[in-house]
Symmetry: C2
Subunit: 253 residues, 2 copies
Protein backbone atom coordinates (compact mmCIF):
# COMPACT_ATOMS: atom_id res chain seq x y z
CA UNK A 1 0.00 0.00 0.00
CA UNK A 2 1.24 3.47 -0.96
CA UNK A 3 -0.32 6.79 -0.21
CA UNK A 4 -1.15 9.57 -2.66
CA UNK A 5 -2.38 12.87 -1.28
CA UNK A 6 -2.27 15.20 -4.24
CA UNK A 7 -4.23 15.09 -7.46
CA UNK A 8 -1.13 16.55 -9.12
CA UNK A 9 0.74 13.28 -8.58
CA UNK A 10 2.03 11.95 -11.93
CA UNK A 11 0.22 8.62 -11.69
CA UNK A 12 -3.05 10.40 -10.90
CA UNK A 13 -2.60 12.81 -13.79
CA UNK A 14 -1.91 9.89 -16.13
CA UNK A 15 -4.84 7.89 -14.77
CA UNK A 16 -7.19 10.85 -15.12
CA UNK A 17 -6.57 10.76 -18.88
CA UNK A 18 -8.65 7.57 -18.97
CA UNK A 19 -11.70 9.80 -18.66
CA UNK A 20 -11.13 10.33 -22.38
CA UNK A 21 -12.02 7.59 -24.84
CA UNK A 22 -8.84 8.21 -26.86
CA UNK A 23 -6.63 7.27 -23.92
CA UNK A 24 -8.79 4.31 -23.01
CA UNK A 25 -8.25 2.94 -26.49
CA UNK A 26 -4.52 3.70 -26.54
CA UNK A 27 -3.93 1.94 -23.25
CA UNK A 28 -6.70 -0.67 -23.56
CA UNK A 29 -7.77 0.16 -20.03
CA UNK A 30 -10.61 2.02 -18.36
CA UNK A 31 -11.80 3.42 -15.04
CA UNK A 32 -14.21 1.54 -12.81
CA UNK A 33 -15.97 3.66 -10.21
CA UNK A 34 -17.46 2.38 -7.01
CA UNK A 35 -17.18 -0.81 -5.00
CA UNK A 36 -20.00 -2.71 -6.69
CA UNK A 37 -18.52 -2.54 -10.22
CA UNK A 38 -15.01 -3.26 -8.97
CA UNK A 39 -16.23 -6.26 -7.01
CA UNK A 40 -18.05 -7.58 -10.09
CA UNK A 41 -14.93 -7.07 -12.22
CA UNK A 42 -12.73 -8.91 -9.75
CA UNK A 43 -15.22 -11.77 -9.51
CA UNK A 44 -15.03 -12.02 -13.30
CA UNK A 45 -11.20 -12.17 -13.18
CA UNK A 46 -10.79 -8.80 -14.87
CA UNK A 47 -7.22 -7.54 -14.40
CA UNK A 48 -7.19 -4.47 -12.14
CA UNK A 49 -3.98 -2.60 -12.86
CA UNK A 50 -4.42 -0.09 -10.06
CA UNK A 51 -6.93 0.44 -7.31
CA UNK A 52 -7.36 3.78 -5.52
CA UNK A 53 -9.15 3.74 -2.19
CA UNK A 54 -10.07 6.53 0.21
CA UNK A 55 -9.82 6.16 3.97
CA UNK A 56 -13.59 5.86 4.13
CA UNK A 57 -13.56 3.13 1.48
CA UNK A 58 -10.80 1.32 3.36
CA UNK A 59 -12.86 1.29 6.54
CA UNK A 60 -15.99 0.15 4.74
CA UNK A 61 -14.59 -2.67 2.62
CA UNK A 62 -11.48 -3.74 4.58
CA UNK A 63 -12.32 -7.47 4.52
CA UNK A 64 -12.90 -7.58 0.79
CA UNK A 65 -9.78 -5.50 0.15
CA UNK A 66 -7.62 -7.82 2.20
CA UNK A 67 -9.00 -10.91 0.53
CA UNK A 68 -8.88 -9.58 -3.02
CA UNK A 69 -6.21 -6.95 -3.57
CA UNK A 70 -2.50 -7.65 -3.55
CA UNK A 71 -1.81 -3.93 -3.55
CA UNK A 72 -3.61 -0.59 -3.72
CA UNK A 73 -3.20 3.13 -3.25
CA UNK A 74 -4.65 4.89 -0.24
CA UNK A 75 -5.68 8.28 -1.62
CA UNK A 76 -7.16 11.53 -0.37
CA UNK A 77 -10.74 12.46 -1.16
CA UNK A 78 -9.31 15.12 -3.47
CA UNK A 79 -7.52 12.47 -5.54
CA UNK A 80 -10.64 10.31 -5.75
CA UNK A 81 -12.67 13.30 -6.85
CA UNK A 82 -10.14 14.08 -9.57
CA UNK A 83 -10.49 10.58 -11.02
CA UNK A 84 -14.27 10.28 -10.69
CA UNK A 85 -16.94 11.23 -13.21
CA UNK A 86 -19.48 11.83 -10.46
CA UNK A 87 -19.41 14.64 -7.92
CA UNK A 88 -19.45 12.24 -4.97
CA UNK A 89 -17.15 9.30 -5.74
CA UNK A 90 -17.85 6.11 -3.84
CA UNK A 91 -14.59 5.46 -2.05
CA UNK A 92 -12.92 3.24 -4.65
CA UNK A 93 -11.78 3.64 -8.26
CA UNK A 94 -9.84 1.07 -10.27
CA UNK A 95 -8.02 0.94 -13.58
CA UNK A 96 -9.19 -2.20 -15.37
CA UNK A 97 -7.78 -3.92 -18.41
CA UNK A 98 -10.04 -4.27 -21.45
CA UNK A 99 -10.58 -7.90 -22.40
CA UNK A 100 -9.43 -9.35 -25.68
CA UNK A 101 -12.53 -9.91 -27.76
CA UNK A 102 -13.28 -13.60 -28.11
CA UNK A 103 -14.35 -15.16 -31.35
CA UNK A 104 -18.14 -14.98 -31.66
CA UNK A 105 -20.24 -17.92 -30.62
CA UNK A 106 -23.67 -17.52 -32.20
CA UNK A 107 -25.66 -19.79 -29.93
CA UNK A 108 -28.46 -18.51 -27.75
CA UNK A 109 -30.04 -15.07 -27.93
CA UNK A 110 -28.04 -11.98 -28.86
CA UNK A 111 -28.82 -8.29 -28.74
CA UNK A 112 -27.27 -6.20 -31.52
CA UNK A 113 -27.11 -2.41 -31.11
CA UNK A 114 -27.12 -0.28 -34.23
CA UNK A 115 -25.96 3.24 -33.43
CA UNK A 116 -27.58 3.45 -29.97
CA UNK A 117 -25.98 6.63 -28.75
CA UNK A 118 -27.00 7.20 -25.16
CA UNK A 119 -24.61 5.55 -22.67
CA UNK A 120 -27.45 5.05 -20.18
CA UNK A 121 -29.49 3.22 -22.81
CA UNK A 122 -26.58 0.99 -23.85
CA UNK A 123 -25.71 0.14 -20.25
CA UNK A 124 -29.32 -0.55 -19.32
CA UNK A 125 -29.76 -2.80 -22.37
CA UNK A 126 -26.69 -4.84 -21.37
CA UNK A 127 -28.15 -5.20 -17.88
CA UNK A 128 -31.54 -6.22 -19.29
CA UNK A 129 -29.99 -8.69 -21.75
CA UNK A 130 -28.21 -10.31 -18.82
CA UNK A 131 -31.46 -10.53 -16.83
CA UNK A 132 -33.30 -11.96 -19.83
CA UNK A 133 -30.75 -14.76 -20.16
CA UNK A 134 -29.16 -13.56 -23.40
CA UNK A 135 -25.75 -14.89 -24.44
CA UNK A 136 -24.36 -11.53 -25.39
CA UNK A 137 -24.60 -8.02 -26.76
CA UNK A 138 -22.81 -6.73 -29.85
CA UNK A 139 -22.19 -3.01 -30.07
CA UNK A 140 -22.32 -1.90 -33.68
CA UNK A 141 -20.72 1.23 -35.04
CA UNK A 142 -21.94 4.51 -33.65
CA UNK A 143 -23.08 2.98 -30.37
CA UNK A 144 -22.05 4.58 -27.08
CA UNK A 145 -18.68 3.55 -25.68
CA UNK A 146 -18.93 0.55 -23.35
CA UNK A 147 -16.23 2.07 -21.16
CA UNK A 148 -17.88 5.45 -20.72
CA UNK A 149 -18.52 5.81 -16.95
CA UNK A 150 -22.25 6.24 -17.51
CA UNK A 151 -22.48 3.10 -19.64
CA UNK A 152 -20.56 1.10 -17.06
CA UNK A 153 -22.70 2.41 -14.22
CA UNK A 154 -25.92 1.58 -16.07
CA UNK A 155 -24.79 -2.00 -16.71
CA UNK A 156 -24.64 -2.51 -12.91
CA UNK A 157 -21.87 -5.01 -13.60
CA UNK A 158 -23.75 -7.06 -16.18
CA UNK A 159 -20.98 -6.49 -18.73
CA UNK A 160 -19.09 -9.16 -16.77
CA UNK A 161 -21.95 -11.65 -16.89
CA UNK A 162 -22.40 -12.09 -20.62
CA UNK A 163 -20.35 -11.60 -23.75
CA UNK A 164 -20.13 -7.94 -24.81
CA UNK A 165 -18.41 -7.39 -28.12
CA UNK A 166 -17.89 -4.81 -30.82
CA UNK A 167 -18.51 -5.48 -34.48
CA UNK A 168 -19.72 -4.41 -37.88
CA UNK A 169 -23.38 -5.47 -37.85
CA UNK A 170 -23.65 -5.66 -41.62
CA UNK A 171 -21.05 -8.45 -41.49
CA UNK A 172 -22.34 -10.10 -38.34
CA UNK A 173 -26.03 -10.42 -39.30
CA UNK A 174 -25.30 -12.84 -42.20
CA UNK A 175 -23.13 -14.92 -39.87
CA UNK A 176 -26.07 -15.46 -37.53
CA UNK A 177 -28.19 -16.42 -40.50
CA UNK A 178 -25.57 -18.88 -41.72
CA UNK A 179 -25.79 -20.86 -38.50
CA UNK A 180 -29.58 -20.83 -38.70
CA UNK A 181 -30.33 -18.13 -36.13
CA UNK A 182 -32.98 -15.71 -37.38
CA UNK A 183 -32.17 -12.02 -37.11
CA UNK A 184 -35.06 -9.81 -36.01
CA UNK A 185 -34.99 -6.09 -36.69
CA UNK A 186 -37.18 -3.39 -35.19
CA UNK A 187 -39.09 -1.04 -37.45
CA UNK A 188 -42.48 0.50 -37.95
CA UNK A 189 -42.75 -0.31 -41.65
CA UNK A 190 -45.67 -2.13 -43.26
CA UNK A 191 -43.91 -5.47 -43.64
CA UNK A 192 -42.99 -5.53 -39.98
CA UNK A 193 -44.90 -7.86 -37.67
CA UNK A 194 -46.41 -7.23 -34.25
CA UNK A 195 -43.97 -8.79 -31.75
CA UNK A 196 -46.89 -10.50 -30.01
CA UNK A 197 -47.44 -12.59 -33.15
CA UNK A 198 -43.92 -14.02 -32.99
CA UNK A 199 -43.26 -17.36 -31.27
CA UNK A 200 -40.70 -17.59 -28.48
CA UNK A 201 -37.26 -18.73 -29.61
CA UNK A 202 -33.99 -19.95 -28.14
CA UNK A 203 -31.46 -18.95 -30.80
CA UNK A 204 -31.81 -15.59 -32.51
CA UNK A 205 -30.46 -12.07 -32.77
CA UNK A 206 -32.51 -8.96 -32.05
CA UNK A 207 -31.36 -5.62 -33.49
CA UNK A 208 -32.27 -2.32 -31.83
CA UNK A 209 -31.61 1.00 -33.55
CA UNK A 210 -30.77 4.61 -32.89
CA UNK A 211 -32.89 6.65 -30.43
CA UNK A 212 -34.11 9.09 -33.06
CA UNK A 213 -33.76 7.37 -36.43
CA UNK A 214 -34.23 3.74 -35.51
CA UNK A 215 -32.32 1.05 -37.39
CA UNK A 216 -30.41 1.97 -40.51
CA UNK A 217 -32.16 0.99 -43.77
CA UNK A 218 -29.11 -1.05 -44.79
CA UNK A 219 -29.43 -3.29 -41.75
CA UNK A 220 -33.23 -3.47 -41.94
CA UNK A 221 -32.82 -4.95 -45.40
CA UNK A 222 -30.60 -7.73 -44.04
CA UNK A 223 -32.90 -9.02 -41.30
CA UNK A 224 -35.18 -12.07 -41.57
CA UNK A 225 -38.15 -10.32 -39.99
CA UNK A 226 -38.76 -6.87 -38.57
CA UNK A 227 -40.93 -6.37 -35.51
CA UNK A 228 -42.87 -3.53 -34.00
CA UNK A 229 -44.58 -2.87 -30.68
CA UNK A 230 -48.09 -1.47 -31.01
CA UNK A 231 -48.42 1.86 -29.26
CA UNK A 232 -51.85 2.43 -27.78
CA UNK A 233 -51.63 5.94 -26.36
CA UNK A 234 -50.42 9.15 -27.91
CA UNK A 235 -46.71 8.59 -27.29
CA UNK A 236 -44.76 8.77 -30.53
CA UNK A 237 -42.40 6.01 -29.54
CA UNK A 238 -40.93 4.02 -26.70
CA UNK A 239 -37.50 4.64 -25.24
CA UNK A 240 -35.19 2.18 -27.02
CA UNK A 241 -34.11 0.45 -23.79
CA UNK A 242 -37.75 -0.06 -22.78
CA UNK A 243 -38.60 -1.47 -26.21
CA UNK A 244 -35.58 -3.78 -26.00
CA UNK A 245 -36.69 -4.98 -22.56
CA UNK A 246 -40.22 -5.78 -23.72
CA UNK A 247 -38.92 -7.62 -26.81
CA UNK A 248 -36.16 -9.56 -25.08
CA UNK A 249 -38.44 -10.80 -22.30
CA UNK A 250 -41.15 -11.69 -24.78
CA UNK A 251 -39.03 -13.40 -27.43
CA UNK A 252 -36.56 -15.51 -25.49
CA UNK A 253 -37.86 -18.91 -24.51
CA UNK B 1 -42.66 40.79 -28.91
CA UNK B 2 -40.07 42.29 -26.58
CA UNK B 3 -36.35 41.78 -26.57
CA UNK B 4 -34.17 40.76 -23.63
CA UNK B 5 -30.41 40.74 -24.13
CA UNK B 6 -29.05 40.33 -20.64
CA UNK B 7 -29.39 37.42 -18.24
CA UNK B 8 -29.34 40.05 -15.46
CA UNK B 9 -32.77 41.30 -16.54
CA UNK B 10 -35.21 41.12 -13.60
CA UNK B 11 -37.72 38.87 -15.38
CA UNK B 12 -34.94 36.47 -16.35
CA UNK B 13 -33.56 36.43 -12.82
CA UNK B 14 -37.03 35.69 -11.46
CA UNK B 15 -37.69 33.04 -14.10
CA UNK B 16 -34.37 31.35 -13.39
CA UNK B 17 -35.58 30.67 -9.85
CA UNK B 18 -37.95 28.09 -11.33
CA UNK B 19 -34.94 25.81 -11.65
CA UNK B 20 -35.54 25.21 -7.96
CA UNK B 21 -38.43 23.04 -6.83
CA UNK B 22 -39.28 25.43 -3.99
CA UNK B 23 -40.05 28.26 -6.41
CA UNK B 24 -41.93 25.98 -8.74
CA UNK B 25 -44.23 25.05 -5.88
CA UNK B 26 -44.60 28.63 -4.66
CA UNK B 27 -45.58 29.92 -8.08
CA UNK B 28 -47.27 26.74 -9.34
CA UNK B 29 -45.31 27.08 -12.56
CA UNK B 30 -42.35 25.36 -14.20
CA UNK B 31 -39.88 25.65 -17.06
CA UNK B 32 -40.36 23.77 -20.31
CA UNK B 33 -37.24 23.43 -22.43
CA UNK B 34 -37.20 22.84 -26.15
CA UNK B 35 -39.70 23.11 -28.96
CA UNK B 36 -41.07 19.57 -28.73
CA UNK B 37 -42.22 19.82 -25.10
CA UNK B 38 -43.59 23.34 -25.59
CA UNK B 39 -45.51 22.24 -28.67
CA UNK B 40 -46.98 19.30 -26.74
CA UNK B 41 -47.95 21.58 -23.86
CA UNK B 42 -49.65 24.05 -26.17
CA UNK B 43 -51.52 21.27 -27.95
CA UNK B 44 -52.77 20.14 -24.52
CA UNK B 45 -53.97 23.69 -23.71
CA UNK B 46 -51.42 24.19 -20.96
CA UNK B 47 -51.16 27.89 -20.09
CA UNK B 48 -47.76 29.27 -21.13
CA UNK B 49 -47.15 32.37 -19.05
CA UNK B 50 -44.00 33.41 -20.89
CA UNK B 51 -42.10 32.08 -23.86
CA UNK B 52 -38.44 32.93 -24.48
CA UNK B 53 -37.12 32.36 -27.99
CA UNK B 54 -33.66 32.84 -29.48
CA UNK B 55 -33.15 34.23 -32.99
CA UNK B 56 -32.29 30.75 -34.19
CA UNK B 57 -35.49 29.37 -32.65
CA UNK B 58 -37.48 32.16 -34.26
CA UNK B 59 -36.11 31.29 -37.69
CA UNK B 60 -36.71 27.60 -37.22
CA UNK B 61 -40.27 27.63 -35.86
CA UNK B 62 -41.65 30.93 -37.20
CA UNK B 63 -44.86 29.39 -38.57
CA UNK B 64 -45.74 27.62 -35.36
CA UNK B 65 -44.88 30.70 -33.31
CA UNK B 66 -47.14 32.91 -35.42
CA UNK B 67 -50.01 30.46 -35.23
CA UNK B 68 -49.70 29.68 -31.53
CA UNK B 69 -48.20 32.48 -29.50
CA UNK B 70 -49.91 35.80 -28.80
CA UNK B 71 -46.68 37.18 -27.43
CA UNK B 72 -43.11 36.12 -26.64
CA UNK B 73 -39.65 37.39 -25.73
CA UNK B 74 -36.86 37.39 -28.26
CA UNK B 75 -33.78 36.66 -26.16
CA UNK B 76 -30.04 36.35 -26.60
CA UNK B 77 -28.34 32.96 -26.47
CA UNK B 78 -26.88 34.05 -23.14
CA UNK B 79 -30.37 34.49 -21.67
CA UNK B 80 -31.52 31.12 -22.96
CA UNK B 81 -28.45 29.47 -21.49
CA UNK B 82 -29.14 31.09 -18.12
CA UNK B 83 -32.64 29.59 -18.05
CA UNK B 84 -31.74 26.15 -19.39
CA UNK B 85 -30.72 23.04 -17.47
CA UNK B 86 -28.75 21.71 -20.40
CA UNK B 87 -25.53 23.16 -21.78
CA UNK B 88 -27.00 23.63 -25.27
CA UNK B 89 -30.56 24.90 -24.96
CA UNK B 90 -32.83 24.25 -27.89
CA UNK B 91 -33.93 27.73 -28.92
CA UNK B 92 -37.11 27.97 -26.86
CA UNK B 93 -37.98 27.92 -23.15
CA UNK B 94 -41.42 28.56 -21.68
CA UNK B 95 -42.90 29.11 -18.25
CA UNK B 96 -45.90 26.81 -17.94
CA UNK B 97 -48.67 26.78 -15.38
CA UNK B 98 -49.10 23.64 -13.29
CA UNK B 99 -52.54 22.09 -13.75
CA UNK B 100 -55.02 21.79 -10.93
CA UNK B 101 -55.18 18.13 -10.01
CA UNK B 102 -58.46 16.60 -11.09
CA UNK B 103 -60.42 14.23 -8.93
CA UNK B 104 -59.24 10.69 -9.58
CA UNK B 105 -61.11 8.50 -12.02
CA UNK B 106 -60.13 4.90 -11.33
CA UNK B 107 -61.10 3.34 -14.64
CA UNK B 108 -58.55 1.73 -16.93
CA UNK B 109 -54.97 0.90 -16.02
CA UNK B 110 -52.92 3.04 -13.67
CA UNK B 111 -49.26 3.10 -12.76
CA UNK B 112 -48.47 4.03 -9.14
CA UNK B 113 -44.92 5.05 -8.24
CA UNK B 114 -43.75 4.44 -4.69
CA UNK B 115 -40.63 6.47 -3.98
CA UNK B 116 -39.09 6.15 -7.46
CA UNK B 117 -36.30 8.66 -7.13
CA UNK B 118 -34.56 9.01 -10.47
CA UNK B 119 -36.14 11.71 -12.67
CA UNK B 120 -35.17 9.80 -15.82
CA UNK B 121 -36.93 6.69 -14.54
CA UNK B 122 -40.08 8.61 -13.58
CA UNK B 123 -40.21 10.43 -16.92
CA UNK B 124 -39.58 7.25 -18.91
CA UNK B 125 -42.30 5.41 -16.99
CA UNK B 126 -44.81 8.17 -17.78
CA UNK B 127 -43.84 7.90 -21.46
CA UNK B 128 -44.16 4.09 -21.36
CA UNK B 129 -47.51 4.22 -19.52
CA UNK B 130 -48.78 6.52 -22.29
CA UNK B 131 -47.53 4.13 -24.99
CA UNK B 132 -49.09 1.16 -23.19
CA UNK B 133 -52.49 2.84 -23.17
CA UNK B 134 -52.67 3.49 -19.42
CA UNK B 135 -55.15 6.04 -18.04
CA UNK B 136 -52.67 7.68 -15.74
CA UNK B 137 -49.72 7.70 -13.40
CA UNK B 138 -49.82 8.59 -9.70
CA UNK B 139 -46.61 9.83 -8.13
CA UNK B 140 -46.47 8.74 -4.50
CA UNK B 141 -44.38 10.37 -1.82
CA UNK B 142 -40.64 10.36 -2.35
CA UNK B 143 -40.92 10.09 -6.12
CA UNK B 144 -38.91 12.44 -8.33
CA UNK B 145 -40.45 15.81 -9.09
CA UNK B 146 -42.56 15.75 -12.24
CA UNK B 147 -41.39 19.27 -13.06
CA UNK B 148 -37.68 18.55 -12.76
CA UNK B 149 -36.22 19.27 -16.24
CA UNK B 150 -34.89 15.73 -16.55
CA UNK B 151 -38.25 14.19 -15.69
CA UNK B 152 -40.00 16.43 -18.21
CA UNK B 153 -37.46 15.64 -20.92
CA UNK B 154 -37.76 11.90 -20.31
CA UNK B 155 -41.55 12.02 -20.62
CA UNK B 156 -41.12 13.29 -24.20
CA UNK B 157 -44.39 15.13 -23.69
CA UNK B 158 -46.40 12.15 -22.50
CA UNK B 159 -47.31 13.97 -19.27
CA UNK B 160 -49.83 15.84 -21.46
CA UNK B 161 -51.34 12.65 -22.88
CA UNK B 162 -52.55 10.95 -19.76
CA UNK B 163 -53.48 11.91 -16.22
CA UNK B 164 -50.43 12.49 -14.01
CA UNK B 165 -51.26 13.09 -10.38
CA UNK B 166 -49.71 13.19 -6.93
CA UNK B 167 -51.08 11.28 -3.99
CA UNK B 168 -50.60 9.25 -0.87
CA UNK B 169 -50.52 5.68 -2.17
CA UNK B 170 -51.59 4.15 1.15
CA UNK B 171 -54.86 6.05 0.75
CA UNK B 172 -55.23 5.57 -2.98
CA UNK B 173 -54.70 1.79 -3.14
CA UNK B 174 -57.88 1.03 -1.11
CA UNK B 175 -59.83 3.39 -3.38
CA UNK B 176 -58.90 1.32 -6.43
CA UNK B 177 -59.93 -1.80 -4.56
CA UNK B 178 -63.27 -0.25 -3.59
CA UNK B 179 -64.21 0.19 -7.23
CA UNK B 180 -63.15 -3.37 -8.00
CA UNK B 181 -59.78 -2.68 -9.63
CA UNK B 182 -57.10 -5.06 -8.38
CA UNK B 183 -53.86 -3.49 -7.21
CA UNK B 184 -50.71 -5.36 -8.21
CA UNK B 185 -47.47 -4.80 -6.36
CA UNK B 186 -43.98 -5.80 -7.40
CA UNK B 187 -41.81 -7.84 -5.05
CA UNK B 188 -39.57 -10.85 -4.93
CA UNK B 189 -41.19 -12.47 -1.90
CA UNK B 190 -42.45 -16.06 -1.78
CA UNK B 191 -46.12 -15.19 -2.08
CA UNK B 192 -45.50 -13.16 -5.20
CA UNK B 193 -46.51 -14.63 -8.56
CA UNK B 194 -44.62 -14.78 -11.85
CA UNK B 195 -46.12 -12.00 -14.01
CA UNK B 196 -46.43 -14.46 -16.90
CA UNK B 197 -49.00 -16.40 -14.87
CA UNK B 198 -51.29 -13.38 -14.60
CA UNK B 199 -54.13 -12.87 -17.07
CA UNK B 200 -54.37 -9.65 -19.05
CA UNK B 201 -56.69 -7.05 -17.52
CA UNK B 202 -58.38 -3.79 -18.44
CA UNK B 203 -58.86 -2.13 -15.05
CA UNK B 204 -56.09 -2.35 -12.47
CA UNK B 205 -53.30 -0.50 -10.74
CA UNK B 206 -49.64 -1.54 -10.90
CA UNK B 207 -47.28 -0.29 -8.20
CA UNK B 208 -43.53 0.07 -8.86
CA UNK B 209 -41.09 0.76 -6.03
CA UNK B 210 -37.83 2.46 -5.24
CA UNK B 211 -34.73 1.72 -7.33
CA UNK B 212 -32.79 0.20 -4.45
CA UNK B 213 -35.33 -0.90 -1.87
CA UNK B 214 -38.31 -1.77 -4.02
CA UNK B 215 -41.82 -1.14 -2.72
CA UNK B 216 -42.31 -0.24 0.92
CA UNK B 217 -43.54 -3.13 3.11
CA UNK B 218 -46.56 -1.02 4.14
CA UNK B 219 -47.78 -0.78 0.56
CA UNK B 220 -46.90 -4.38 -0.28
CA UNK B 221 -49.26 -5.44 2.49
CA UNK B 222 -52.11 -3.48 0.88
CA UNK B 223 -51.96 -4.96 -2.60
CA UNK B 224 -54.17 -7.75 -3.93
CA UNK B 225 -51.31 -9.64 -5.53
CA UNK B 226 -47.59 -9.06 -5.86
CA UNK B 227 -45.72 -9.95 -9.02
CA UNK B 228 -42.15 -10.69 -9.96
CA UNK B 229 -40.22 -11.04 -13.20
CA UNK B 230 -37.99 -14.12 -13.33
CA UNK B 231 -34.37 -13.18 -13.90
CA UNK B 232 -32.50 -15.76 -15.94
CA UNK B 233 -28.94 -14.42 -16.02
CA UNK B 234 -26.73 -13.16 -13.25
CA UNK B 235 -28.16 -9.64 -13.06
CA UNK B 236 -29.37 -8.87 -9.56
CA UNK B 237 -32.35 -6.91 -10.76
CA UNK B 238 -33.90 -5.00 -13.63
CA UNK B 239 -33.93 -1.23 -13.90
CA UNK B 240 -37.32 -0.16 -12.50
CA UNK B 241 -38.41 1.55 -15.73
CA UNK B 242 -37.58 -1.58 -17.74
CA UNK B 243 -39.50 -3.77 -15.31
CA UNK B 244 -42.45 -1.36 -15.49
CA UNK B 245 -42.37 -1.50 -19.30
CA UNK B 246 -42.39 -5.30 -19.39
CA UNK B 247 -45.24 -5.48 -16.86
CA UNK B 248 -47.39 -2.73 -18.37
CA UNK B 249 -47.19 -4.17 -21.87
CA UNK B 250 -47.85 -7.67 -20.60
CA UNK B 251 -50.72 -6.93 -18.22
CA UNK B 252 -52.87 -4.42 -20.04
CA UNK B 253 -55.39 -5.97 -22.39
Amino acid sequence: MKEIQSSKNTLIKETKKLQQKKYRQQTQSYLLEGFHLIQEAKAASVVLKEVFISQRGLNEWSEWIEANLADYYLVSDEVLKALASQPTPQGMIAVAEMPQEESLDFSGAWLLLDNVQDPGNVGTMIRTADAAGFSGVILGQGSADLYNPKTLRSTQGSLYHLSVQHGELAEIIPQFQQVGSPVLGTALDKEAKDYLAVEKMTDFALVMGNEGQGMSPELLALTDQNLYITIKGQAESLNVAIAAGILMFHLFK
